[in-house]
């Protein structure tokens, strides 16, 4: 008898199967994840968690009988029945068998727990920052293997064949390993030789040569060389995202919720996908302030509205901390579209001449009242931005009124664009 302790075996034996399963039901999972986003608390979104999947696409069908037809069944525990009794069927089932409620085509609403990582992966699957162009060799976060000469040890897949054979040849020459031709010539000589004495001498010579050949191998483990790799730091693009949010009195709770959801998605997306993205949170009423994320998402504030204050703050921060020649600069602004009349001109000037030329991409989200029409808007800011947009600057504007529009709009703004094509405004 053997006792084997398997507890220390590598864990996650079923991981591969789990991943295959996830891949298989990817679309379903994606839909379920997005659906779950609409109903959940902002904070819960970060924690991943249980989702419920319908089971199409993962059915494992088999040839089996349905429940129709006559059936016989033996059951235990008879207390009152005698032969010939008729037991009325339970209501609700038309003529089915009374005892098979657990059977059948059930299984819909297969509950599935995604880890936080899996959840975010699915969630952020096809998003990216557009036009990440300026790459500077500053941060050494990523490394990639680079060729770095040869070594005497390594993986068989890295054998340097050329170098190995060259070394082998050098050794063979240095140790005077007899050549094949040499031996063949000697053999011919022996065949042709008629004189016994010299023939014996030749044979002795041949013998010593063949022995030498055997002693000095064609390729010796000593000769083997492997290609060596060293990890070289890779340049990483530096990027900064400015989040500008209007928290003035005109924003209703609903609008704030929409705006916060939008930024939360943005925050999640950036912090998960890009290691080197700075995020600057600016909130503004009639004056702007830079805040930390906690205050940004959960701190209360109220007041009038001056959009230019936020843009001015952004400009100041860029000037102070983020040199536009080195940094990829992104902006995302959320507002209800209200702005003081006197401020319109200044805002337009700032955005057109100061901010947009330095930005890779600037997204504006206008949040509206629940039930509002998200297709068009006549708010001052919208009109102003629409005017600027036509000038082929990297500006996108969208309007959102309902919670379930947040993700599509977000996805629309940041989905992967192929190749070099620029962001379409």
């Amino acid at each position: 008898m053997h006792i084997v302790d398997r507890r220390l075996n590598p864990r996650g034996k079923s991981l591969e199967n789990r991943q295959r399963f996830l891949r298989r039901v990817k679309e379903t999972v994606q839909q379920a994840v997005k659906r779950s986003l609409q109903n959940r608390n902002i904070r819960d979104v970060l924690d991943g968690g249980e989702i419920s999947l319908p089971i199409d696409g993962m059915a494992e069908p088999s040839l089996r009988r349905g429940g129709d037809g006559t059936s016989d069944q033996i059951l235990p525990g008879n207390r009152a029945f005698v032969e010939g009794d008729i037991i009325p069927r339970p209501p609700g089932r038309n003529g089915g068998k009374p005892k098979e409620a657990g059977e059948g085509d059930g299984e819909d609403g297969f509950r599935f727990v995604l880890t936080r990582e899996e959840f975010l992966d699915v969630f952020l699957d096809d998003l990216e920052l557009p036009d990440l162009a300026k790459r500077r060799l500053s941060e050494t976060e990523e490394e990639s293997p680079m060729r770095a000469g040869y070594s005497v040890s390594g993986s068989p897949s890295n054998i340097a064949v050329g170098r190995t054979t060259r070394l082998a040849m050098m050794r063979r020459v240095a140790l005077h390993r007899p050549r094949v031709g040499e031996i063949e010539a000697l053999q011919r000589q022996i065949e042709e030789c008629e004189d016994d004495e010299s023939r014996l001498a030749l044979e002795a010579k041949l013998k010593s040569l063949t022995e030498k050949t055997r002693r000095i191998p064609y390729i010796d483990p000593l000769d083997v060389r492997y290609r060596r790799f060293e990890n070289e730091p890779k340049p990483v693009a530096k990027a900064v995202m400015f989040c500008l949010m209007d928290v003035s009195g005109s924003m209703s709770e609903h609008m704030k919720d929409l705006a916060k959801r939008f930024y939360l998605l943005l925050y999640l997306f950036l912090s998960k996908r890009y290691k080197k993205v700075e995020i600057v949170f600016i909130r503004h009423t009639d004056k702007a302030e830079e805040v930390d994320e906690e205050t940004f998402f959960y701190g209360p504030a109220t007041g009038g509205t001056l959009v230019s204050s936020a843009l001015a703050a952004m400009r100041a921060i860029i000037a102070a901390r983020f040199d536009p020649t080195e940094w990829n600069i992104y902006g995302a602004q959320a507002s209800d579209g209200d702005n003081a009349h006197s401020d319109g001109n200044l805002t337009g000037q700032l955005l057109r001449h100061e901010i947009l030329p330095q930005c890779q991409y600037f997204a504006y989200i206008e949040v509206g009242e629940e039930g509002g029409d998200s297709s068009a808007s006549r708010s001052p800011l919208w009109t102003l931005y629409q005017g600027i947009r036509s000038e082929l600057l990297p500006l996108s504007i969208r309007k959102v009124c309902r919670r379930n529009e947040i993700f599509p709009v977000f996805h629309d703004l940041f989905h992967k664009r192929d190749g070099q094509s620029k962001v379409t405004p």
Binding site: M58, L63, G69, T70, N78, E83
Partner: protein
């Protein structure tokens, strides 16, 4: 000077803790009783201690320690895990594998008493059954299974590398859908030798490579010969039709399958065949193991190797295992194979040792023969659930379990008829009916491949013989027939034939175009 052994020193363990030396002692003590007193004959044992996560792993890959990769196992894992994490389901105490050496998995959370119970149950009860039951002897190859699974896993991985994961997955999906109809039900072939399988596969491939000659491609062929109007019978005989093993037929005759696809069908078929005996012996297998652990635990207790406290712990879990709620109990979910099996084994023991007049009349062969273990060992070797129940379910046990027979005819609007109860008139009918419920020839739909016109449109024709007016489950069947058509490569038609020999329903499918 002699020392008297105090009773305490005889104990295998104290309390709940155990270590590997304890496991060894437990195993040796169980072995002494199992081989010496019960006369069991077992494969060598291998006991493996695993964690609950590993137990979940094992659950999801049909209990085997290694298995090829497929998404469905991931699905099962997620399913079990969700239930387990929410505390809705306990894990099994053990899993035992029909292999030689016989591998038993013990959970690390088990107490020492539980480890004893599980060792007796799995390493001796199941083990003996695997080694001696005729179905397992005929259809499974305990020595070869692990090597074969290793080969299968490697082979499928290589196929994935060569032909792409998607293509392999499609083939496996289709094969799994047909798995229930991928077994030989009747012997008549030589016994399987899984070790040979791997070699044969390699030889076939080497042979093909050797015989490859590109010139054959260039040899001009004349117009295909007119398919002679050989009669239907001749055509069927040539293909070995009718054939109920669908996977086997596809593997041998499907015209458009690649060699590697045939090999995958073969692997799935072999796995299905390996599990086939287990499906037919649930009650007997669990009954045997439960009976054996009950005997061993009692003997250990009598010999003073298990303390009274630990024995009570055992009795509690034993009672849980063999609990059979009545039909109207909320916990009722069909017959508990442990309960039914154990009750029947005990009943047989009673009949053999202390028969009543009734027993003598019903079981003249075994009543009062005296040596219960010899009789039981014979039964364990020669029966499966269906024949076991139809032979040995005694009136006494029918009364004890208060069995009754319901006949449900949807035409009958008034309700369900109680057609037999536990009385003189009912015993035989109840026994016959219960044994039928365990006869997979009766419970599985009978589907045969009946015809294919290889010279014509190559449509594959299958027939399901409807019994008791019970049709195939519609949604599933549509999917399976589609899978079947994908494998076959041409149209497939499945007809359901009712008792008046007319076609009641038809399922037709054409192969899907595969987008690579």
């Amino acid at each position: 000077m002699t020392t008297t052994v105090r009773p305490k020193d005889r104990l295998l363990f104290e309390g709940a803790d155990w270590d590997f030396a304890t496991l060894q002692r437990i195993h040796d003590a169980c072995e002494e009783i199992a081989l010496g007193e019960l006369g069991l004959d077992v494969y060598p044992n291998q006991i493996e201690v695993i964690t609950s996560e590993q137990m979940l792993d094992a659950y999801s890959s049909t209990g085997m320690p290694l298995f090829y990769r497929h998404w469905s196992f991931g699905k099962h894992f997620a399913h079990h895990e969700a239930f387990y994490r929410r505390g809705m389901r306990d894990l099994a105490y053990e899993i035992v594998i029909n292999s030689s050496p016989c591998i038993s998995y013990l959970m690390e959370e088990n107490t020492a008493t539980m480890q004893t119970l599980v060792t007796a149950h799995a390493a001796f009860g199941h083990n003996h059954f695997f080694k001696n039951n005729y179905l397992f002897k005929l259809w499974t190859d305990a020595k070869g299974i692990l090597d074969y699974l290793d080969f299968a896993k490697g082979y499928i991985t290589r196929c994935e590398e060569r032909y792409g994961e998607a293509a392999v997955e499609r083939t496996l999906d289709a094969a799994h859908a047909l798995m229930s109809h991928g077994v030989h039900r009747y012997a008549g072939k030589t016994t399987v030798d899984l070790r040979q399988e791997e070699k044969r596969q390699q030889e076939r491939r080497a042979h093909e490579e050797q015989m490859f000659n590109d010139l054959w491609r260039t040899v001009p062929v004349g117009r295909a010969k007119k398919g002679g109007d050989s009669g239907l019978e001749k055509r069927r005989a040539a293909l070995g039709l009718p054939q109920d093993n669908i996977l086997y037929f596809l593997e041998k005759s499907a015209p458009r399958l690649q060699p590697w696809q045939r090999e995958i069908l073969r692997i799935v078929r072999h796995v299905a065949q390996y599990f086939h005996p287990q499906r037919q012996t649930k009650v007997m297998n669990e009954g045997t193991a439960t009976f054996v652990h009950y005997q061993i635990m009692n003997r250990l207790h009598e010999r003073g190797q298990i303390s009274d406290g630990n024995f009570l712990e055992f009795l509690k879990s034993h009672a849980n295992v063999v609990f059979q709620p009545g039909y109207d109990d909320r916990r009722f979910s069909g017959f508990n194979p442990y309960a039914l099996g154990f009750a029947m084994m005990q009943d047989i023991e009673r009949i053999v040792t202390k028969p009543t007049e009734e027993d003598r009349a019903w079981f003249p062969d075994i009543a009062g023969r005296g040596d219960a273990m010899a009789i039981l060992r014979g039964i364990w070797a020669d029966y499966r659930d269906e024949s076991f129940i139809s032979q040995f379910l005694s009136p006494n046990l029918i009364r004890q379990l208060r069995l009754f027979h319901l006949y449900d005819d949807p035409e009958q609007t008034e309700g369900v008829l109680v057609s037999a109860i536990h009385n003189e008139r009912g015993y035989l009918r109840i026994r016959r009916q219960l044994s039928r419920e365990y006869d997979i020839g009766w419970t599985d739909p009978a589907i045969d491949i009946v015809d294919v016109d290889l010279a014509g449109d190559r449509r594959l024709l299958l027939q399901h013989i409807i019994m008791n007016g019970c049709h195939l489950q519609e949604a599933d069947t549509t999917l399976v027939v589609q899978h079947l058509a994908d494998l076959w490569g041409y149209d497939v038609l499945l007809q359901e034939i009712d008792s008046s020999n007319t076609v009641a329903r038809e399922y037709a499918a054409s192969p899907r175009k595969i987008v690579q």
